[in-house]
């Protein structure tokens, strides 16, 4: 299995290199939105500007490290029939998606980590103040967040077996995620009602939770509870993907690609 992954990773890496320019263009979009939001908050609470600077830099980083576009890939592959190609091989198609995700997250890390580092040299507010333990937990939370977002994206992609406008469905979910994951506002700035929702829905654990660990906002009991809820959602999503896959295969084999 390891050998297969190495082969897939290598292939996805080379493929990614062919799309360097396009990837760069996509990244600019992922950066401008959080930056604009940051300026809004800096205007609302100028006294907290420094913590906003750190927060939104972290949002950019964590968002990229957890980003998943499998919903569009799957939608296209199923619609165009190229998904059959993957089904003919003795490897589950999800591994191709996982390999692609790993390659791109590696790319984003390689680009963003130095940027953050250099930024931290010039602007002290950007410096993280984490203990080694916190750093480890932060990384664990990021990985968990990436897995959650991937599974959600893949599940929605599998809906393409039944629904034609899967992108629209995911669009709605993504918009909800904007609010409840902390991308529009740090969660503590949200009206209480929304904050309640964010505790129990999976979106917080995709972006905000790792950042809360990094800023020290979440510790002790809060930390444990956070991981527990995230793990719970993980189990739900894994079961969801498995169920959708089986149902999708049945549908696909009845109607054909």
């Amino acid at each position: 299995m390891i050998r297969k992954y190495i082969a897939l990773l290598r292939m996805k890496y080379i493929e990614m290199l062919a799309y360097r320019l396009a990837t760069f263009v996509w990244m600019t979009g992922a950066i401008t939105q959080p930056l604009i939001t940051m300026f809004v908050w800096m205007n609302i609470h100028p006294e907290e500007s420094e913590s906003f600077l750190f927060y939104f830099m972290a949002v950019i980083f964590v968002e990229r490290m957890t980003s998943a576009w499998d919903v569009w890939e799957l939608d296209r592959e199923i619609r165009e029939g190229t998904f059959s190609n993957l089904l003919l091989r003795p490897v589950h198609p999800i591994h191709w998606a996982i390999a692609e995700n790993i390659v791109y997250k590696w790319l984003f890390a390689v680009i963003l980590a130095p940027v953050w580092l250099v930024g931290a040299v010039f602007w002290p507010p950007l410096r993280p103040h984490m203990t080694a333990g916190q750093a480890v937990l932060f990384l664990a939370a990021v990985v968990l967040g990436a897995a959650l977002r991937f599974l959600l994206s893949y599940s929605c992609g599998l809906l393409a077996f039944w629904v034609t406008k899967v992108a629209a469905v995911y669009g709605v979910i993504d918009v909800i995620s904007l609010f409840l994951s902390g991308r529009i506002a740090p969660l503590e700035m949200l009206p209480p009602a929304l904050r309640e929702w964010s505790e129990w829905l999976p979106f917080r654990y995709m972006i905000s939770f790792p950042i809360e660990i990094a800023t020290g906002a979440a510790d002790g009991g809060e930390l444990a509870r956070g991981f527990a809820v995230a793990a719970g959602w993980m189990a739900v999503f894994v079961a969801g993907v498995q169920w959708l896959w089986k149902a999708g295969m049945r549908k696909n084999q009845a109607v054909g690609g």
Binding site: F39, N43, V172
Partner: protein, 262 residues
Amino acid sequence: MRRYGRVFREFFRACLVEELEYRSEFFGNFIASFFGLGIALLTIHIFFYQTDRLGGWTYGEVLVLLGVFNTLRGWIDFALRPNMPRLLEHVRRGTLDYILTKPVDSMFYVSFRHLVFWRLIDVALGLGVIGYGLYVERYVPSAADVLMFFVVMTASLLLIYSLWMMLMTTSFWVVRIDDLSFIFDSFFDTARFPGSMYRGAVRFVITYVLPAVLITNTPALALLGKWSMAAVLAALAVAMLFLWVARRFWRFALRFYTGAGG
């Protein structure tokens, strides 16, 4: 000029018929527009939960700005965005030749051939939000305000068209990027909010280097009675300038494409 009016009407009619074929989509699109606007309003609400001024603008004023933004974006999605990927395809496949041999100005054709009607809902909703913002603000625009608003909106539309056209024209060279409109979206996104919100070096960039904020802020300010003749004339002048540049650029690209001269 009248001829182009007729041609545009034909595009309008053809695309409308095409879209009415997919009547079931219409409903879904309607909902999508409402949803999109609802989210934007919710976002503003969240911001104003914590404050009552954004860059010096009040809640009502920011609503007017949002309305202007939505309206302009509706126009972009109605006329400009649908044509971008098509131009890319034409260039890639070489089918641009068909267009060049038609007795219509190619830049006009390439910009307006495909229109997405349901996006006009965004325009309508945007105007609605402008109205709502004025209501919240308890401000009734004077006749001069409205006139200036239209003038400046026209300037903004022309400016957007020019910028968009220039971006489209780059597809002659940058054939590998699937979605150039992404660049414009990122740029235009900065225009959601008042320019006065930004500070320091960023404010400088936003105002003089990538002045997207002027595109939305100026019309909003005009309608709110905060216009100056100088600003209005400047807006018009800038729009005209960019239109001219866009046209030159298009001509240049065509010469490149057809292999004629330098």
